[in-house]
Symmetry: C2
Subunit: 281 residues, 2 copies
C-alpha cells in the first residue's frame, strides 16, 4: 500500500513523521475522512474546503492547493487500485521545537492514506448512549476537524463498554452536540431537525448533504438545540457521517427510539447520490 | 543527538513514528516535560507517576516501568552529554487503525527526547493576558497531561499576538484555570493561593513543589476558584512550570500586578531545591 506524504508516494512502512512533528507533540493539525466510491472521493471539494478553512484559522499553510490535492488523491487511489475505500487527509503544522509557542517558520506535513471500508458499513442501525464526557460550549475549534480527539475516543470507548455502538457528546451547557463520530438528526413536529453548529456541532459534510436532500425531497428542516431528556422522547433519530453515510438509531440510553419512515427515506436518497458519484477514469 | 524510541537510542533523524500512530491521528497519548539539572531530571518520580496515572485512565500500557524509564532517561542524558536540558517523555497508544474505536491490541509508543533549556529561562517576569479560549469545566481529562493541546497552543498565540508572554485559560464556568504552560498562584489575605484541580487545573509537579515549600517556610496556603475580575485585583501573581520554575507576573491584561515579596521568596527556595538535586554520576 502506498501513502501520499509531503508530495511523494511512499510504501506504508516508510510513511512516518518525525517525533517533533507538532501534530504528534500537541495535536496541532487537522484531518478529513471521506468515502471513496467507484474510485472517487465523495464530496472531496467540500472536505478540502473545510480543511482549508481550518488551516486558515490555525494559520497552517497547506503546501498544495485543493485542486492539486484532488489530483494526488486520484493518483493514490489508482496506484493502490482501491476504488472502494476510506481516504484520510491529515495536515499538521509540521516539525517544530517543543513548547506551545508557534515556530517562526514551519513546513507543514500533509498525509493522504487509504483505508478499507469498515465492515460496520454493513451495519444498518445503532444503539447510542449519552456520554459522561463534556465538550466545551461555544468553542471556536468545534467548527474544524482538529487532531484533538481524545474526548471522542473516550466517549466511543464508554459506548463500547456499555454494549452500545456510539456515544452522544453533551456540551458544558447541557445540550446534546453530536455523536463521537457523526452529526445528530431527529424528527419532531414533522420536521427533520439537527443541532446548530453554534452548540459545538461539527459542520459535517454528510450533515450538509442531508439538508440538501431534505430540500430536494421537500422535507422541512430545522436547527435547534436539544437536551438529553428531550432527545430521549424524539422519533426517527439518525447519525450522519462520511464513512457510513446515514445510520438510523434504534436504541438511546437503553430505551427504544420511536420509529419514523423519514430516516430510511433520506438514507435511500443519500445512497443513490453516493452511487451516482461519477467514476474517475 | 540521540532520541530514546521504544527501547532503543536512535539518531534524531531516525526518531520517527508511523502516520497511523494514534498519538498522531487523534492525540491519543500523554506527555511529561521536565527540567534536567546537573544531569538529573528534577522530580522525575512525580512526573512519571502522573504519566502512569494518566496511562491507567486511558488504558495505555506503558512498555517500561517507571524505574526502567528513569534508567533510560539517565542513559539518554549521558549519551547526549546534555546535563542541562529539558526532557520530554511521550507515551501514546501506538499504531492503530483509523477510527475512534480502540484497537483490540495495541503496542504503545514511548519517546524520550532532550531539548535545550529555552533562553526564556533567563526571563524573570511575565506579562499575561486572559485568553478568549475556554476549557471545559469538570473535565476528567484535565487531571492528565494529554497530547490534546491545541487550545493551549492557540491561547499562547493569542498572548504573543497581543505582545504578552503567556495566556490564562478560563473554564466554561468562568473560572480562571491555569496558564497555557503552567499553574497559577496569587497572594490574597496573607495566603498563597492556587486554583483547585477541581476547576480543571493540571495537578502540576512544580505546583506541588511550591505547596511543599510554603509548608516548609510556614507560609499559609489555600486553594480557591477565582474569576478573572477578582484575579485582576490580586497581588503577587506567579506562574509555576517545570521548565522555567517560578515566574512572577508583572502585568495582567495590561494592568500592573500589585507587588508582594512572597513570589521572590518562593522562587529563591525553589531554585535552591533545584540546585540541590543530586548530580547523576
Amino acid at each position: 500500500v502506498l501513502v501520499f506524504l509531503n508530495g511523494r508516494f511512499v510504501p506504508a512502512a516508510r510513511a512516518v513523521v518525525p517525533v517533533n512533528d507538532r501534530g504528534f507533540l500537541y495535536g496541532d493539525g487537522l484531518f478529513e475522512t471521506m468515502r471513496v466510491c467507484g474510485g472517487r472521493p465523495f464530496r472531496l471539494a467540500q472536505h478540502l474546503e473545510r480543511l482549508m478553512h481550518g488551516a486558515d484559522f490555525l494559520k497552517i499553510r497547506c503546501p498544495f492547493s485543493p485542486d492539486r490535492l484532488g489530483k494526488y488523491a486520484g493518483q493514490l487511489i489508482q496506484k493502490n487500485k482501491m476504488l472502494e475505500a476510506v481516504l484520510r487527509v491529515t495536515l499538521t503544522r509540521g516539525p517544530g521545537e517543543r513548547g506551545y509557542t508557534l515556530p517562526e517558520k514551519s513546513r507543514p506535513t500533509i498525509v493522504m492514506a487509504l483505508h478499507p471500508v469498515p465492515p460496520a458499513a454493513g451495519r444498518t442501525q445503532w444503539r447510542l448512549i449519552t456520554s459522561s464526557y463534556r465538550v466545551p460550549a461555544a468553542d471556536p475549534l468545534s467548527s474544524f476537524k482538529t487532531m484533538n480527539k481524545l474526548t471522542h475516543v473516550l466517549a466511543r470507548r464508554e459506548a463500547v463498554e456499555q454494549g452500545a455502538d456510539e456515544a452522544l457528546l453533551v456540551n458544558t451547557d447541557g445540550e446534546v452536540v453530536e455523536a463521537a463520530g457523526g452529526n445528530l438528526f431527529w424528527v419532531a413536529d414533522g420536521k427533520i431537525r439537527t443541532v446548530p453548529t453554534a452548540c459545538g456541532a461539527l459542520p459535517g459534510i454528510t450533515r450538509a448533504a442531508v439538508l440538501d436532500i431534505c430540500r430536494t425531497l421537500g422535507l422541512p428542516t430545522g436547527r435547534c438545540a436539544i437536551k438529553p431528556g428531550a432527545l430521549r422522547k424524539a422519533k426517527g433519530i439518525f447519525i450522519t457521517q462520511s464513512v457510513l453515510g446515514i445510520v438510523p438509531v434504534t436504541v438511546l440510553d437503553g430505551r427504544p427510539v420511536g420509529p419514523s419512515p423519514l430516516p430510511d427515506r433520506i438514507r435511500r436518497a443519500y445512497d443513490e447520490m453516493l452511487a451516482k458519484t461519477p467514476t474517475r477514469r
